[in-house]
Structure formats: structure tokens, C-alpha cells
């Protein structure tokens, strides 16, 4: 079974997964005496043994840590903040020589490969490496924040629709249908532009148009149906199961049943979806920022940095290449790790989110 652990796609000869939390043991696991182990312990063991998934999971952690530590880098190594625009005559050492940060023909310096201007300067002379880390921070905050909000509303809508059925289900399902009808990127652009124009006022909550909260909210709304729909389907089946009936017969209220009987049984789906949600949210953030409907200047994000880089790709191509590489690494790490999580929990499940 060693080969199986490294296969990325769904496993051809994997165990039949019957829904709920029953997991059939592989021969290898039976040998290891795991017959009585809980499903999550089994899944964790399978994930740990999937070396590819673990490697990319660790890569993602490293990227996150590097970005969280951006202020450390900025303060102690590069001595610059993400929006420091140097004077026109400011110099920096590159290859043992003092050179202008932006030369006389307007071309920013390339990588110096030491602390200050490690990856060179951007079009305004700002330190590209510092911006890359701060930008990554914003991209990851937006990606993870949006995925958390999507998960919350996806769970609330999915569980409510599936459990209550009837008009609650109709109302929620129609609402999700409408969101679903828009191409993801267009709805993102529409909401992003409208909110970036005037900010958002929801009762006491007031958000300015340039706040990071705007892209977080926009992206989370767009992806809600992708989680709520499969959860609704699962809950529809779960509510007919004997253990739910037993809880009802004991006189437990709806809310209690949803929390203590239904919710633990749909968590598997949430765990499988979460890394993929973050990956897609990070990609959508980049696309929206690239088009100007996401993170607003001067705040950096990988999307805005690619946008800036593409504008001067002829004189300084590294400005477009580097943030893209970071973005691809992050999304790839999440995708491969997410595949591993899915295989560990449920080798036959199919998860797909449109880009």
C-alpha cells in the first residue's frame, strides 16, 4: 500500500466509504492494531503517512510563517516598510557598488541578494521582498478570512436548509441559486467595484472602501453555495438516520439536534473543503486585485504586485515573476495538502470548486 499513499488523485482500489464516519480499514491498518481506533485518528495516521501531502502542508506553513514575520524582516533586515518610497537620489549597494535604486532611465534595480532590496525594487523604488511578504500577509489573511466566513455561512445555510426542509429550504436554495448563476469572477468584480467605491454600511458596521474586509466579504459571499449545497444534501440524508430519530424521540430541540447530532457528521466535508476554499479564495483575491477590484493601493497583495509587475514587465520582469511564484506555491501546497486530507478521510469523495 506504499504506492497508494503517494497517489494524488482518488484511489482506484480504495475502501468503500458509506457516508457518515465509518471508515473501512486497509490491510496495513488492521495489522497495526487500529481496528478500534476512531475515524479521525485513522485519518490523521493516513495523512501523516502521505509524504507528498505532508511535505506540501509543511511548505504552506513555512509560507504562512514567513509572511507573518514580515515586520521582523522589514525592521531588522531590510530596514524598510512596505510603503517606503525612497528619494530619487537614494543609493543601495549592489554587487559591491553603490547604485541608484531607480536608475536615470527609470528602471528599478534588480535583486541585490542581500538584506536591503533582496529582490530589487518595484516601479516606485519600494523594496520588492518586503512588499512580497507584506503582500503575502494580506493575500493569506484574505484567503483564510474569506474561507472561514464562507464555512460559517455555508454551514448555517446548508444545515438549516437540509434540516428544516420546506420553505426554509426553498428560500435558502433559491438564494444560493442566484449567487450560483453568476460567473465567480464577474460577481466578485461587481461586488468588489461597488463596495470599493463607497465602502459598506451595515447598521453599526462601517467599512471603508480600501479596507481588507471588503475583498474578504466579497470572496466569502461568492463561494458560499459551493459549500452550502453539498452540506444541505448530506443533512437531508442524515436527518432520516436512526440516531437523529432517537434524539428527537428523547425530546431534544431542533437546535440541539443540529449542534450535537448533525454538525459532527458534516464536519468531515468541511475539513475536506477548507484547504481548497482557501486556495480558491487566494486565487480569486489575486484575480480581483489584478483587475483593480480587490485590494486597493498602497496596500500590497500578490495580485496587485503582479498587476504592477506586468505594467513594467519589459524592463523588470522579476517584479511579475516573483509574486506569481509565491502565489502558485501557496495554492499548489494547499491543493496537494487538501487532496491528501480528502484521501485520508474519504478516498472516494469528489470535491470540486470552480476557479
Amino acid at each position: 500500500m506504499a504506492a497508494r499513499d503517494q497517489t494524488l488523485g482518488p484511489d482506484p482500489g480504495g475502501s468503500e466509504f458509506s457516508g457518515g464516519l465509518e471508515v473501512e480499514l486497509t490491510a496495513d491498518e488492521r495489522k497495526a492494531g487500529l481496528a478500534g481506533a476512531g475515524p479521525y485518528r485513522l485519518a490523521a495516521r493516513r495523512l501523516r503517512r502521505n509524504r507528498t501531502a505532508m511535505a506540501f502542508g509543511i511548505l504552506f506553513l513555512i509560507l504562512v510563517l514567513a509572511c507573518i514575520a514580515a515586520p521582523l524582516w522589514a525592521k531588522h533586515v531590510a530596514h524598510r516598510e512596505f510603503d517606503d518610497i525612497p528619494g530619487s537620489s537614494e543609493m543601495v549597494t549592489k554587487g559591491g557598488e553603490e547604485v541608484l535604486i531607480i536608475d536615470l532611465s527609470g528602471v528599478p534595480i534588480g535583486p541585490t541578494w542581500h538584506g536591503e532590496y533582496f529582490l530589487g525594487a518595484d516601479g516606485s523604488g519600494r523594496d520588492a521582498a518586503v512588499r512580497l511578504l507584506y503582500g503575502g500577509r494580506n493575500s493569506l489573511i484574505i484567503g483564510i478570512g474569506a474561507a472561514l466566513i464562507t464555512t460559517f455561512f455555508g454551514l448555517v445555510f446548508g444545515v438549516a436548509a437540509g434540516y428544516f426542509r420546506g420553505w426554509t429550504d426553498s428560500a435558502i436554495s433559491r438564494l444560493l441559486d442566484i449567487i450560483w448563476a453568476f460567473p465567480v469572477i464577474l460577481l466578485g468584480i461587481a461586488l468588489g467595484t461597488a463596495l470599493a467605491l463607497g465602502g459598506l454600511k451595515l447598521g453599526p458596521l462601517e467599512v471603508s472602501g480600501s479596507s481588507l474586509l471588503i475583498p474578504i466579504l466579497v470572496i466569502s459571499v461568492v463561494y458560499i453555495p459551493y459549500l452550502a449545497r453539498p452540506i444541505r444534501g448530506e443533512v437531508l440524508a442524515l436527518r432520516e438516520k436512526e440516531f437523529v430519530e432517537a434524539a428527537r424521540a428523547q425530546g431534544q430541540g431542533s437546535l440541539r439536534i443540529m449542534f450535537s447530532e448533525i454538525l459532527p457528521n458534516v464536519i468531515t466535508t468541511v475539513i475536506v473543503f477548507f484547504p481548497l476554499l482557501v486556495a480558491n479564495a487566494v486565487l480569486l483575491e489575486a484575480a480581483l486585485s489584478f483587475l483593480g477590484a480587490g485590494v486597493q493601493a498602497p496596500e500590497p497583495s500578490w495580485g496587485t504586485m503582479i498587476n504592477d509587475g506586468v505594467d513594467r514587465v519589459v524592463s523588470a520582469p522579476h517584479l511579475a515573476v516573483v509574486p506569481g511564484v509565491m502565489l502558485v506555491l501557496t495554492v499548489l501546497a494547499l491543493n496537494i495538502f487538501g487532496d491528501g486530507v480528502r484521501d485520508a478521510l474519504d478516498p472516494r469523495a469528489k470535491v470540486k470548486i470552480d476557479a
Binding site: 504506492a3 503517494q6 497517489t7 494524488l8 488523485g9 482518488p10 482506484p12 482500489g13 433559491r174 441559486d177 442566484i178 448563476a181 453568476f182 460567473p183 465567480v184 469572477i185 464577474l186 460577481l187 468584480i189 461587481a190 461586488l191 467595484t193 461597488a194 463596495l195 467605491l197 463607497g198 465602502g199 459598506l200 454600511k201 486556495a279 486565487l283 489575486a286 484575480a287 489584478f290 483587475l291 483593480g292 477590484a293 503582479i306 506586468v310 514587465v313 519589459v314 520582469p317 511579475a320 515573476v321 506569481g324 502565489l327 502558485v328 495554492v331 499548489l332 491543493n335 496537494i336 487532496d339 469528489k350 470540486k352 470552480d354 476557479a355
Partner: protein, 325 residues
């Protein structure tokens, strides 16, 4: 059957109406700043702003504004805030370009997605399978505007400079009627850039479908009755595995035309419908974005209904399920 089609079409009209309301709501009701103030330019007087409000109907009640918006959208009277050109005309101008991009890319991604998916399924577990599966994942993880911009720069610009001739052009679009060769020449890179993501997705979907189908009883039967492996594969496995992929194809194609190609168009400067909307974002020009969003969603909803109906015609089980619900 007629009843099913009728019900599906009614549902479609309701969703279309809801979609138009939501789009209108997003742009007119969300606190998006006063468009009249923006249009009046720098340091406008109160009378100027009031005149613009009157002229563009910003003072009307919301239902009236909604009706006017929809009327203008379909009659071609909707005008851009900045250029004052007809939005509908601009969309018609961009549509052939978007179609050319979408159709070419759709053919490319279907062909390569299926070939790659079938090949990796056949070689499941081998080194080549793992390598290609990782490649497919990289393809899925790459933002199209990034890989497109790099292709445009390195293959369209740097390579042309090195070679001294244009193996690939550096963006732009040439009308088919002007020169069919130059038309295709200018679309090669955009086609490839747009396909990469879908090739990754389709090969993964097909791979898992093929592997699942191989375990089915009817495949065992086909083998048992002595069909060659090749016949089993093509007649039984592939045909059954392709059904969900073809559905996916129809839906993805609709999404790409309905706005999904916006990034590719912008990066390669194809001046299609998507780029029209993208260019309007920078100028906060609402009508083009509103119109493209609405048309895009309309197209997707319409296409979904068609796919559903075709599906129901082919598979009676769906009709029954639908009427039982």
C-alpha cells in the same frame, strides 16, 4: 416531457429576473458613491450635479430606475459614464473576439484534458502518472493572468526579439476576415493560456471517472466475454466516463463566454467583452460592468437550462426525479 421543459423554462425566467435585480441592487443600492458627483468632474457646482442627476434619471424612484436600466440595456440606449458610447454596441463589438477565444480554447482543453486523463488513468501509479498528475495540479494552481502575462512577455516579446521574427505575436487581435492566418496566429497563446487550468481540471476528473468505471460490473462482463482491452476501454469505459466531462464542458464553456475569459482577454489585449468590463473597473464606469455582469449571468443561466433539458431528453430518470420533488 413538454411539462418538464416548460417548468425548466419558467424557473429560468425567474432566476433571470432575480439575477437582474441582484445586479441592479449591487450597483444602484449598495452605497457606491453618487455617480452624478463622479461624472461632473472636479469641483462641480451643485446645479451641474443636479442637472446630471436629472438627465441620467438618478432622481427617479428605484423601481423606475430598474425599469429604465433594463429597457436601456436591451434597446442599446445604455451609455458609458465616461465615453458616452452605447454599452450594447461595445459588447456586440467584443463578442466575436470573446467567442473566438472561448471556442478555440474549449476545443483545446477538451482534447488535451481527455487525452491526459485517459493516459494517466491507464498508467495509474506509474511514474508518468504521478508526474502528469502533479503537472495537472500545477496547472490548476496557476492564475491565468500571471501565466498569460509571462507567456506574452517571454514568448511574444523576448523570443521575437531573439529570433528576429514573430513566432508568437505580443498580444493584440486580428479580424478573421482580414487574415485568417494572422487571426489564428494571434490567438494561439491566449488559447493555450486559457486552456491550462481546464486541462488540469478535466484530466483529473476524467482520470478518477475512468478508474471508477473500471471497477464496474459491466466492464468485468465486457472483459469476460472476451473483448480486447482496447475495445473495453473505448466502447465501455471511456464512453461512460465522458458523460460528466461533457456536461462540465458545456457549463464551463458558458462561464468562459459569460465573463470567465476576462483575465485572458485583458492580458493579451484582445479587446473582447471581458476586457471591456475590466477596463471600465479602473475608471469606475458602472454601466459597462453592470451590462457585462448581467449578460454573463444571463448566458450562464440560459446555457444551464439548455444543458438540463438536453440531459432530461437523454435520461428519463432526471425528469422523474424532478417531477417527484
Amino acid at each position: 416531457m413538454t411539462r418538464f421543459i416548460f417548468r425548466r423554462l419558467v424557473a429560468m425566467v425567474i432566476v433571470l429576473f432575480a439575477v437582474s435585480l441582484v445586479t441592479f441592487f449591487i450597483f444602484q443600492v449598495l452605497p457606491g458613491g453618487d455617480p452624478a458627483v463622479r461624472m461632473a468632474g472636479k469641483q462641480p457646482t451643485e446645479t451641474q450635479i443636479e442637472a446630471i442627476r436629472e438627465e441620467w434619471g438618478f432622481n427617479d424612484s428605484l423601481p423606475t430606475q430598474y425599469l429604465t436600466t433594463m429597457q436601456n440595456l436591451f434597446s442599446g440606449d445604455m451609455k458609458s459614464y465616461t465615453t458616452q458610447l452605447s454599452v450594447t454596441e461595445e459588447i456586440w463589438h467584443g463578442l466575436p473576439r470573446t467567442l473566438a477565444l472561448a471556442i478555440g480554447a474549449a476545443i483545446l482543453w477538451m482534447a488535451f484534458g481527455v487525452a491526459l486523463g485517459l493516459y494517466t488513468a491507464m498508467r495509474a501509479g506509474h511514474v508518468s502518472d504521478r508526474l502528469l498528475t502533479v503537472l495537472a495540479l500545477i496547472g490548476i494552481s496557476m492564475p491565468v493572468f500571471w501565466i498569460g502575462a509571462l507567456m506574452n512577455h517571454y514568448l511574444g516579446y523576448e523570443l521575437s526579439n531573439t529570433l528576429g521574427f514573430e513566432l508568437f505575436p505580443n498580444g493584440g487581435y486580428v479580424e478573421f476576415t482580414e487574415s485568417p492566418f494572422e487571426w489564428a496566429h494571434h490567438l494561439i497563446l491566449p488559447w493555450i493560456a486559457l486552456s491550462i487550468l481546464f486541462i488540469g481540471v478535466y484530466s483529473r476528473v476524467l482520470r478518477s471517472n475512468v478508474l471508477e468505471t473500471m471497477n464496474e460490473d459491466f466492464v468485468r462482463t465486457a472483459r469476460a466475454k472476451g473483448l480486447s482491452e482496447r475495445q473495453v476501454l473505448i466502447k465501455h469505459v471511456l464512453r461512460n466516463s465522458l458523460i460528466p466531462v461533457v456536461t462540465l464542458w458545456g457549463l464551463d464553456f458558458a462561464v468562459v463566454i459569460g465573463g470567465g475569459a476576462i483575465l485572458t482577454e485583458s492580458v493579451f489585449n484582445l479587446q473582447g467583452v471581458g476586457q471591456y468590463a475590466a477596463d471600465s473597473i479602473g475608471q469606475l464606469d458602472v454601466p459597462p460592468i453592470l451590462a457585462v455582469t448581467m449578460f454573463g449571468a444571463f448566458f450562464v443561466v440560459f446555457f444551464n437550462a439548455i444543458v438540463d433539458i438536453v440531459y432530461a431528453v437523454l435520461d428519463p430518470r432526471i425528469r422523474l426525479e424532478e417531477s417527484a420533488a
